[in-house]
């Protein structure tokens, strides 16, 4: 399967199953589009007719280009067929290794954001804080279930994890002690709204947190519309100076400012550029996840505007990089030569299998997005996974379990997408959230175009 598209003046051809990326001129682009349907002579006739006013397009040239394309096909870099379906079947019987936990250390929040998927941190339940005992047991559970994996990930999440900061620090200290006796390595991540960030948080996080995710939505009016405190006051002015100090102190590694865009700010690149102007260089911005009836839900009319925004962002990032003012955008980060292997590309995010969420009281869910949905309660950190039906459901949930993905060129970049998004959109984790798919494909086209631009500039 191949995918051809034109963007920012480049003609790009992707070969889905080999992962190859080609940038071609107009003639090659047209030849590739008919290569599998027409004979060589038919292609030559069609091309010579189309380019009859271009003296450099001769029959010899066209036949040479057809030969080049045939060579790429022989090298398995164009028109490859799917050799991986049997691997996906094997994944259904893969081991029960767990390598990442999202610790909900605080089911409470000091902000009252109306669009919060976690219902202001409470996940439709009672307010709660994780105890140190539960946190320590969670790390023990992770190590016990991690098999031969060395790198283990633990995300401090909420609600707002800084509302339980002393416990977070003690869990980290416990983890560092465990590393000495087990040979495991923890990568800790903190996700915070910034309200309680202080020098102690910054100093400890810079020493211990592999990554810090700072929640900001962008421009003051956009941020403050949703991200208010319980008195109804926006949080922008309180958090920006703290996050600026935090980000600066981390250098240029190991943090993201992460926002959510909604129907209210489809011009979200203005929010990203605003954040860049504030000095942040590592940016992430996500489409809102909500019911289609919510006022913030993205609409069909928004879609072309959003595509335009992603193109604006890509072009501006190319420009800024040339000027030595590089910014990174999470969804445009793609490493073509050292990116994920095919196993990763097939199996996806690992929710419900190698990645689980832990509630303040130690219950296990497939991921943070399922917490509070009792159908998806998997077990707890003392007794382990008891709900094998849910685990099996998630094991079988990959790009090959979704018929809608069969013909999608982006299937090995997205791996079938987010199970929670699919569940919320269709009622089943093996469904597809079509709007999200379309946005994802646009982002990948932009991300690959940026790589092409980089290669062309060399």
């Amino acid at each position: 399967m191949i995918h051809q598209y034109k963007l920012n003046g480049y003609n790009i051809v992707l070969d889905v199953y080999s992962g190859s990326v080609h940038v071609v001129d107009e003639v090659a682009y047209d030849i590739i589009s008919m290569f599998e349907q027409k004979s060589e002579d038919e292609i030559v006739s069609a091309i010579l007719e189309k380019y009859k006013d271009s003296p450099d397009v001769t029959e010899a040239e066209v036949r040479e280009c057809i030969g080049d394309i045939a060579e790429l096909k022989a090298q398995k870099k164009l028109f490859t067929t799917d050799p991986y379906a049997s691997l996906a079947f094997d994944l259904k019987s893969k081991s029960n290794v767990i390598k990442a936990l999202c610790l909900h250390v605080a089911h409470t929040c000091n902000l009252n954001c109306s669009y919060c998927f976690a219902s202001q941190g409470k996940y439709k339940g009672e307010r709660a804080l994780m105890s140190l005992d539960v946190g320590k047991r969670a790390l023990d559970f992770l190590i016990e279930n991690s098999g031969t994996r060395t790198n283990l990930e633990v995300d401090f999440f909420g609600g707002e994890p800084l509302m339980n900061w002393d416990v977070v620090k003690d869990i980290v200290r416990y983890g560092r002690e465990l590393e000495k006796t087990t040979g495991k390595h923890f990568r800790f991540t903190l996700t915070t709204n910034g309200v309680l960030v202080d020098d102690d948080v910054i100093e400890f996080s810079n020493r211990e947190m592999h990554n810090v995710v700072m929640s900001i939505d962008g421009r003051r009016e956009v941020h403050d519309f949703y991200r208010k405190d319980y008195a109804g006051n926006g949080s922008y002015d309180r958090i920006i100076p703290k996050f600026q100090k935090f980000a600066k102190s981390r250098g240029d590694t190991g943090y993201y400012v992460r926002g959510t865009y909604t129907h209210r700010n489809v011009d979200f690149t203005n929010d990203l550029f605003h954040l860049a102007d504030l000095g942040f260089t590592q940016l992430s911005m996500e489409p809102v996840v909500c019911a289609p009836t919510d006022p913030e839900a993205l609409t069909e009319e928004d879609f072309p505007k959003l595509c335009e925004q992603y193109e604006i962002l890509a072009k501006e990032m190319i420009r800024r990089k040339k000027e030595g003012k590089e910014i990174t955008f999470y969804h445009y980060m793609i490493d073509l030569s050292h990116g994920p292997c095919i196993y990763k590309r097939i199996s996806g995010c690992g929710s419900g299998t190698e990645y689980m969420a832990v509630t303040p009281w130690g219950d296990l869910y497939p991921c943070h997005q399922f917490v509070g949905d009792e159908k998806y309660l998997m077990g707890n950190i003392w007794d382990g996974v008891k709900n094998e039906a849910v685990r099996d459901e998630f094991k079988k949930c990959n790009v090959y379990s979704r018929r809608e993905c069969d013909d999608c060129w982006a299937r090995l970049y997205c791996s079938g997408g987010c199970a929670a998004n699919a569940y919320h959109a269709t009622g089943k984790i093996t469904g597809t959230y079509e709007y999200g798919c379309r946005l994802f494909r646009k982002r990948m086209e932009c991300a690959i175009m940026m790589k092409v631009a980089e290669a062309q500039d060399k």
Binding site: V21, R258, P340, I342, K344, G350, H368
Partner: protein
Amino acid sequence: MKRIQTLETRDLEKSVKNGGCGECQTSCQSACKTSCGVANQPCEKKTEKK
């Protein structure tokens, strides 16, 4: 090739043999938390990429 430039990419079919160590970052643990993709996850293996 005169009209075609091929970028250097990881050969996915070869990664059937040299991939699968499982040490890479879990996709959602980094920054997204809502719209999973795997394209931006770096490989942890420093050798045998090709």
